[in-house]
């Protein structure tokens, strides 16, 4: 009896050290806010970026975007506004900020095409749930109604309606999933962090090497797509100087070339890309 009462208490006490270690992101956020309000933008950026390694929120990325915007680093401002908009797509202020940053960076033309809101990656789950519901509801209703001869129209009509509805929903899901895949591959071109001019032009090299000639020139803030191989991994090349090169292409697919890892950042946390980075860094 005593043992049975003690067991939960032991379990609870063993969890206390772990609970105390887990730090709330709100505290770090408040500290970063203090740094920003006290006119220390560089430290505020560092603090925000440290939080973003583990925790994500729309407001966090919005503040980061604002700080980079004020520094006239429009490439990073665009990147963080994009991240913020992914978490809060209905925020008009963020949309306006992104448009302004795009305008100032001059990267308006090289932006990703915006799909219809209902066909965007945000609606993948909605389409899938609707498809599942129609699928099962159609089967169950048909299984009940058709033997009873209670359908207002024939079994063929019922089946046709069911197949058409399913087809439409599967199409919507495929569209939103394609948008999601494209977003997973999307990267934003950045200028080097220590570049004071912010007028950097990034070359899209023909071959993975510093000395290679360029196919095209990119501006910070331009949006590109990482090229994947057959196993859906990014096409990467490691040079003898241990520099990682990624094969990227424009959204239209016309421009294609190699850029270094420190010249871009992915809009979403592309899991496979990060894993490859990790493996490459381990091999270093």
């Amino acid at each position: 009896m005593k043992l049975s009462m003690l067991a939960p208490a032991i379990l609870l006490s063993s969890a206390i050290p772990f609970l105390s270690i887990a730090q709330s992101p709100e505290e770090d956020f408040a500290r970063a806010l203090q740094l920003e309000a006290s006119g220390n933008p560089e430290n505020a950026i560092d603090a925000y970026e440290r939080i973003s390694l583990k925790h994500h929120s729309s407001n966090l990325y919005a503040n980061l975007g604002n700080l980079y915007f004020q520094k006239e680093d429009y490439g990073r401002a665009i990147l963080y506004f994009r991240k913020a908009l992914w978490l809060d797509p209905d925020d008009r202020e963020l949309s306006d900020s992104l448009a302004e940053a795009n305008l100032r960076s001059g990267a308006v033309e090289n932006q990703s095409p915006r799909p219809n809101r209902f066909l965007s990656a945000h609606f993948q789950a909605h389409w899938l749930v609707a498809t599942s519901l129609v699928f099962w509801f159609g089967i169950l209703l048909g299984a009940y109604l058709i033997p009873q001869r209670l359908t207002p129209f024939s079994g063929t009509g019922y089946g046709l309606l069911w197949i058409l509805s399913l087809g439409f929903l599967i199409w919507g899901f495929a569209q939103s999933q394609a948008a999601g895949k494209r977003l997973s591959r999307e990267i934003v071109i950045l200028s080097p962090k220590n570049d004071s001019e912010r007028e950097t032009i990034i070359g899209l090299r023909r071959f993975p090497g510093e000395g290679s000639s360029c196919n095209a020139q990119l501006k910070p803030g331009d949006s590109m797509l990482v090229v994947l191989d057959d196993s859906e991994n990014p096409r990467i090349h490691q040079s003898p100087e241990k520099t990682l090169w990624f094969l990227v292409q424009s959204h239209s697919g016309v421009e294609r070339g190699w850029i270094k890892r420190d010249e871009f950042e992915s809009v979403m946390s592309f899991v496979r890309l990060d894993q490859n980075d990790l493996e490459a860094s381990k091999s270093n």
Binding site: P25, E26, F29, L33, E36, A37, K54, H55, H56, S57, S58, N59, L60, A62, N63, G65, N66, F69, Q70, E72, K83, W86, L87, D88, E93, L94, D96, S97, E100, A101, A121, Q124, A125, L128, S132, W136, I139, L140, A143, Q177, G180, K181, L183, S184, E199, M268, S269, F270, V271
Partner: protein, 597 residues
């Protein structure tokens, strides 16, 4: 060899020219042919012998006879009886306008510094032959027919225009439906120099427009018509259409009204379609009451101004939008001149027209100016005046816009950029910048993952589907397992009998129908009342079974009647109406449904 021949020939020519120098100049003039019917033309030839110098000849005017202005000139040299002779021949084309005798009198001509006279010449023009008269009549008829088959109409909303005034006119091309028009080769072109028209867009097409008992297809173009030169001036339009006609050019039936449009044979020929030439007055603008700031705007307009912000920092630009809305000569309207105090620097305006881009008659013309305040403090963009001439009321009007207060915050003072050092493309970091969004003071909703998740990889999704599938399969399996084999066979029999009932109705087999219905009812009663030996049940036993199982008396009575009807028809020899089978089946179904419940 060739060189020798050429040399000899040139020496002959040079020698001949010396001989000709001495020859006397002689002039002949005659018509060839000298007698022609009306509608033909003749050649008026002037032959000048004895000179090589080409004189300027112009025959005198003869009433009823028309000469071409540029004569054809022939030069020839010949040896006549061992004497070299040179002559020039001038051929004028003479076209008579009437029949009769014509005489070109002797007229003076100056040739090679000599005053000579060209002798008189006579031409007789006879009456046209009957064939020619017929052909002329046919041509006239054809022209008349063409005029009624394809014509242009021009209409203007204004009976006259003022100089510089624009009106939205319409040009309509009527094409008779029976005319084999293949395409419109040329959109209507204006005739008349006193007017200018806007570019023609795509026409709107209207079919089956009946006019004088003929059905037409009508193509309508909207056109902005502007009066350019004062005075009463002619105005008309010309278009060209392509029509398919027969191959034989000489045939009387080569006109489009006797065509062979079938199968696409024949050839295409262009036909010019013209509108009636009308005169339109262009009046000069009145000078009386003309405002000093009038700059050519004619029409009826409303003017509105607006600025994009009321609060700026010193040096930041302000957009002033000057919108002119209404109907008038937008295409000829220059940008209004804005006179502001020295507190502002004004840039050149941007233009934007909203409305019909082709005619530019009705719509809104926006002029966007960029103003840069040069002083801080409370400034004002004053009222701006816009003057125009209203052609309907024939008076000048002026409109005043509202003033706009502007608060300019102090900042860095404005330094005008030096011409040799253009301003940098991007403002320095210290200049005023608009922060795009407010600083967020709360963290908001936190999330641990930041990736586009594929819902197909979600365990919850597949688990829920698998559970539904399992539940569904289990239900079907258990249901099929729980059924007594006897009940299952009875249900199967019911389905077979249902099919038989439907087939009996389709084949109008009343006997088979009633037999199947009787078995179907008994089967249902057996199932509902748990009686195994249903085939051995008599009508009365079946009814009694229902009564014992607590079914309503009405249902029992109806079942009894139905079974009775079945027995009478199947075994009693009572002829059943084939048409009544369908309602009986419906009635039986409702009874069977009640027995089931």
């Amino acid at each position: 060899m060739l060189r020798q021949i050429l040399r000899a020939f040139s020496s002959i020519l040079v020698g001949a020219s010396f001989v000709v120098q001495a020859e006397e100049i002689r002039i002949e003039a005659f018509f060839e042919p000298s007698t022609i019917p009306l509608s033909h033309s003749s050649s008026y030839r002037i032959v000048v012998n004895g000179t090589q110098k080409v004189p300027l000849l112009s025959p005198p005017a003869v009433p009823g006879l028309e000469f071409s202005s540029n004569p054809q000139t022939l030069r020839s040299a010949s040896w006549i009886n061992g004497v070299a002779s040179v002559k020039l021949e001038f051929i004028f084309r003479a076209t008579p306008k009437r029949s009769g005798r014509f005489e070109v009198p002797e007229w003076p001509a100056k040739i090679d510094n000599q005053s000579l006279s060209v002798p008189s010449a006579r031409l007789v023009v006879g009456e046209p032959s009957p064939q020619q008269l017929i052909r002329q009549k046919e041509e006239k008829d054809q022209q008349e027919k063409l005029k009624s088959a394809a014509f242009l109409e021009f209409s203007s909303p204004r009976p006259f225009l003022f100089e510089g005034e624009s009106a939205e006119a319409t040009v309509r091309l009527f094409l008779w439906d029976r005319l084999p028009v293949t395409r419109i080769d040329q959109a209507p072109l204006k005739r008349g120099e006193a007017f200018s028209v806007s570019e023609l867009g795509q026409p709107s097409e209207q079919r089956n427009v009946v006019r004088e008992n003929k059905s037409y297809s009508v193509f309508t173009w909207k056109v902005g018509l502007t009066g350019a030169i004062p005075g009463t001036k002619p105005l008309g339009f010309t278009s060209v259409i392509a029509v398919r006609v027969k191959e034989r050019r000489d045939s009387l039936f080569s006109n489009p009204f006797f065509n062979d449009p079938f199968f696409g044979f024949g050839r295409e020929t262009p036909i010019e379609v013209t509108s009636d030439e009308t005169s339109m007055e262009v009046r000069p603008l009145p000078t009386e009451g003309r405002p000093s700031d009038f700059n050519g705007a004619i029409g009826n307009f409303e003017v509105v101004t607006g600025i994009d912000t009321n609060l700026v920092s010193l040096g930041d630009p302000v957009r002033l939008t000057y919108s002119i809305r209404g109907a008038g000569n937008f295409s000829a309207m220059p940008a209004p001149t804005i006179k502001l105090s020295d507190s502002f620097k004004i840039g050149p305006p941007n233009f934007k027209f909203t409305g019909d881009e082709l005619t530019k008659h009705k719509g809104t013309q926006d002029f966007e100016y960029v103003l840069t305040p040069l002083k801080s403090g409370s400034l004002e963009i004053p009222s701006l005046s816009f003057s125009f001439f209203d052609p309907v009321r024939e008076k000048y009007f002026s409109r005043l816009t509202n003033p706009h207060p502007l608060l300019v915050e102090p900042g860095e003072s404005w330094n005008a950029p030096k011409s040799e050092n253009p301003a940098p493309a991007r403002s320095p970091a210290t200049s005023s910048r608009r922060i795009p969004s407010q600083m967020k003071l709360e963290g908001g909703d936190w999330t641990e993952t930041f990736a586009v998740e594929n819902p197909l990889r979600s365990i919850v999704f597949w688990a829920s589907h698998c559970s539904i599938l399992l539940a569904f399969s289990a239900t079907v399996f258990l249901r099929s397992r729980n059924l007594d084999p006897l009940v299952r066979s009875k249900l199967q029999k019911e389905r077979i009998l249902d099919a038989k009932l439907r087939n009996s109705i389709r084949h109008k087999d009343a006997y088979g129908f009633y037999q199947a219905l009787r078995r179907r009812i008994r089967l249902r009663i057996g199932l509902a009342c748990k009686c195994d030996n249903v085939s051995a049940l008599s009508r009365f036993e079946a009814v009694e079974l229902l009564r014992q199982n607590g079914y309503s008396e009405e249902l029992v009575r109806k079942t009894d009647e139905l079974l009775g009807a079945c027995e009478n028809s199947a075994y009693g020899g009572v002829d059943a109406e084939v048409n009544e089978l369908e309602p009986i089946l419906l009635q039986a179904r409702s009874i069977l449904k009640k027995i089931r419940s």
